[in-house]
Symmetry: C2
Subunit: 248 residues, 2 copies
Amino acid sequence: MPRLKCKIKYDGSGFSGFQRQPQNRTVQGALEGVLKKMHKGSEIHLQASGRTDTGVHAIGQVIHFDSPYTIPDENWKRALNTLLPDDIYVDEVTEVSEDFHARYSAKEKEYHYFVWNAKEPNVFRRNYSYNFPYALDIEKMQEGCTYLVGTHDFTTFSSAKSTTKGSKIRTLYQVTCQKNGDEIEFIFKGSGFLYNMVRIMVSVLLDIGQGKRDPSDIIDLLEKKDRQLAGKTISPQGLYLWNVTYDK
Amino acid sequence: MPRLKCKIKYDGSGFSGFQRQPQNRTVQGALEGVLKKMHKGSEIHLQASGRTDTGVHAIGQVIHFDSPYTIPDENWKRALNTLLPDDIYVDEVTEVSEDFHARYSAKEKEYHYFVWNAKEPNVFRRNYSYNFPYALDIEKMQEGCTYLVGTHDFTTFSSAKSTTKGSKIRTLYQVTCQKNGDEIEFIFKGSGFLYNMVRIMVSVLLDIGQGKRDPSDIIDLLEKKDRQLAGKTISPQGLYLWNVTYDK
């Protein structure tokens, strides 16, 4: 059976996260509903590169599924977009070999996080950027970013509720932040991310920007491997799954 | 009683328009609900510079109301914003003289209209910009804009359902459009606007951009004074009440 890889965008505002739930509107539910319709009532299960939480957006989420149909990629794209609600959009469909797996074949992931950092909030960004009206020292935050780059045990920066049993060692290739107008954009690229990891890292970086922590405190936080030390998980609406990279 | 003028922003996506309705969520309903709470259950009625339809946004809507309270302007602003939902924001509160009227004292209004003009739609702009994926000749549209500037009878460009009994003569001071990246921004400034007028003008300008009409057809459309000739009213989500100007 042909295996299809899809690169999709979604506005997370109207979804109770990615993962299918019996009662709530989810991205997986919407996608599998459309696939079921296209397959005359047969259930088609999809796999994603990873879940996203309620309110989290995607610019480049990747999913795969198997279908008995042989349809040109462009027609798949058109058919899916015709049936999908207007807060999900399929950017690319590619037929891939059957050893491709959206989650297990992923080599690198990229997340962005946006913070609206102005005295007045922006009603139009409220679902798309975290509103933080207090003064921030961007240079200190940028210094803090540098300590996150590299291979570390990120236990301190992952949800205590995480069900991941395995290693909490991950490699971050890029961690940056910069202010464009009234908005701060954080970029995180890495081999993989633990549950809530980006949202906890941003929370600590904002503490640094406010002077509540020193940039180099990150070294200590990583060493201590204690989730309690990193403070709260920042809210989801500023977070975007930006890109997932696979071997060619 | 002190009269308060407020400049407000709102994301129109979650409202059934500005005007109060018994069953639906409206901007006026939300504002008057907060005023009632602040006035211990007394109804406080507000006046706006004009209504906006379902899905239409505001960057600079102006309202006024009378209150028995004497509170510094900054405290009014803080109190209102604390109680308002996060899709409405009060930018400015100013105590004004009792002859000020948000609607009747308005000298000039400005509307902007955004069109997402790319091959692929943008899920994040779907409530904020009209999706129009077809090729447009911006220069022709800009030429069309010039014929709208000036004092004209805008009967052709106003809703046939309009309840305005008076003159349909209005003066437009500025009509422009330009493309920034994948988005086209139209700007309309004028002495006043008839019901649906901006949305009908944009619809005709898109016809011109597609080559379905010539730019100079606008001269003829204005002369004919016939709503039937101008085609459909474009959808509301690209429209923003941008600014209302009053005498100092």
